[in-house]
Amino acid sequence: MNLAIITNEYPLYLEGLWTTIYLVSFSLLLGLFIAIPAGILQSSENRAIRGAIWIYMYFFRGTPLLIQLFIIYYGSAQFDFLRESWLWDYFQDAWFCALLALTLNTGAYTAEIVRGVIGTVPQGELEAAKAYGMSRWKMLHRIILPNSLRRALPAYSNEVIFMIHGSAIAGIVTIVDITGAARVVNARYYAPFEAYLAAALLYMCLTFSVIFIFRQWEKRYLQH
């Protein structure tokens, strides 16, 4: 056990920590922009919309994140039309590919959470809203969403933690996130125990911070 390895290489770990935080928060935020509409539109009357969302959610929930990243990163390079288009500016960047994979993945899982909580809004509240003559849109953003998104908090905190841990695969496509940093350190010193232990501690700190923040939010928004 040689702790000097970790203290010597702390700038690399900090860089990795920053990359992980940046990557995960960005993809969670973008994922919400997919998840909330997708979750709501699950109960749409239009079969085509419902079908499209169903396919999206089943693909991204039905396959491992690693495979999704490989398809986006290595798979995209195979198509000449993509490589010659402006899109390649984005796809040639490992960071963009990881962000895309993580966003689409969390979008699908979170959409399922949103669909679940919307379905459990008490009938009485909906009837009362209707009795006030609210339009469907008004009902959605005044009653259904505030009510259900609050109740989604505990389930969503789990999703955030899964995303932090899932982001570890970014290290495979040359990104130096926490896991990537640990692999570089391991490769340099042949000390897997120290290298990965440091990474584990960083992930743990991140996860505990997330749990703490969600506790505060739940106290505030889920009082009753």
């Binding site: 290595y74 390079a77 490589r83 390649w88 040639q92 960047d93 490992a94 495979i172 040359t174 692999r183 570089v184 391991n186 490769a187 340099r188 042949y190 000390a191 897997p192």
Partner: protein, 258 residues
């Protein structure tokens, strides 16, 4: 008291005797993703120069060798963790690695070179290399060389050389620095390889690239090192080495003139 010290002396003696044994069963770690030295066939078996050479050495030593495939990243940790007894995977003998493991004499020595799209510009200056995307295999001599000499370049580290070739073909990299024979066998001589070419000088600076590639063992297995050394000398002398070399390369892999 006397008895105990006698016992200790006996134990120490038998321990030494066990250490100095002739190795009959050797587990060898190989990589399987570094053609033409080591590549994985469709059926999962590992073939290549390193494997043929290992077979010849084992035949010379009259030892039974089993091969264990291990990703490059973890190959030295796995050796230290006793997952196998020796590694034959084109490992350059460097100062840094000698702190952790023991090496046999070199069994091959090939310079490292840059490869890039044909017609690419190349300058060795740090100013030119700043911001360039350079691919290397993680934890290789080339990784260390780029990290030390071109810290301002965008260094992309890959688990295997094959992954780096994929990204060079995809236009995600400007250069790859790797073993020249590996680049020739793994990229240039394959489909689609004609778009790429070597560029710049041959790198052999022993500070980074060591004194050629050797077989790595744990430090306490000095007897195994000597056993391998005798076998290397023997197959160099009787022509077996050259026969294996000619199967894969058209030049002197042993690097006699380097």
């Amino acid at each position: 008291m006397k008895k105990i010290s006698l016992l200790i002396a006996l134990l120490a003696f038998s321990f030494n005797a066990a250490q100095a044994k002739e190795w009959k069963d050797i587990r060898i770690g190989v990589e399987g993703a570094y053609p033409p030295f080591s590549k994985t066939e469709a059926d999962g078996s590992v073939t290549g120069f390193d494997i043929d050479l290992a077979n010849a050495l084992c035949a010379e030593m009259k030892a039974r060798c089993t091969y264990i495939k291990q990703d490059w990243d973890g190959i030295i940790p796995a050796l230290l963790a006793r997952k196998f007894d020796a590694v034959i995977a084109t490992i350059d003998i460097t100062e840094e690695r000698l702190k952790m493991v023991a090496f046999t004499d070199k069994y091959q020595h090939i310079p490292a070179r840059f490869v890039a799209l044909k017609g690419s510009e190349y300058q060795a200056s740090t100013a030119f290399m700043a911001g360039k995307k350079i691919g290397v295999q993680r934890a290789t001599s080339m990784d260390l060389y780029i990290s030390d000499n071109y810290p301002d370049a965008q260094i992309k580290r890959y688990g295997s050389a094959d992954e780096a070739y994929l990204d060079l073909k995809a236009g995600r990299l400007d250069f790859i620095l790797a073993d020249s024979a590996a680049i020739a066998g793994g990229l240039l001589d394959k489909d689609g390889g004609d778009k790429f070419a070597f560029i710049g000088p041959k790198f052999t600076d022993p500070k980074w690239f060591g004194a050629g590639a050797g077989i790595a063992t744990r430090k306490q297995n000095q007897d195994l090192v000597e056993q391998f050394n005798r076998a290397i000398t023997a197959i160099r002398a009787d022509g077996t080495y050259n026969k294996i070399q000619d199967k894969y390369f058209s030049f002197d892999v042993y690097g006699s003139e380097l």
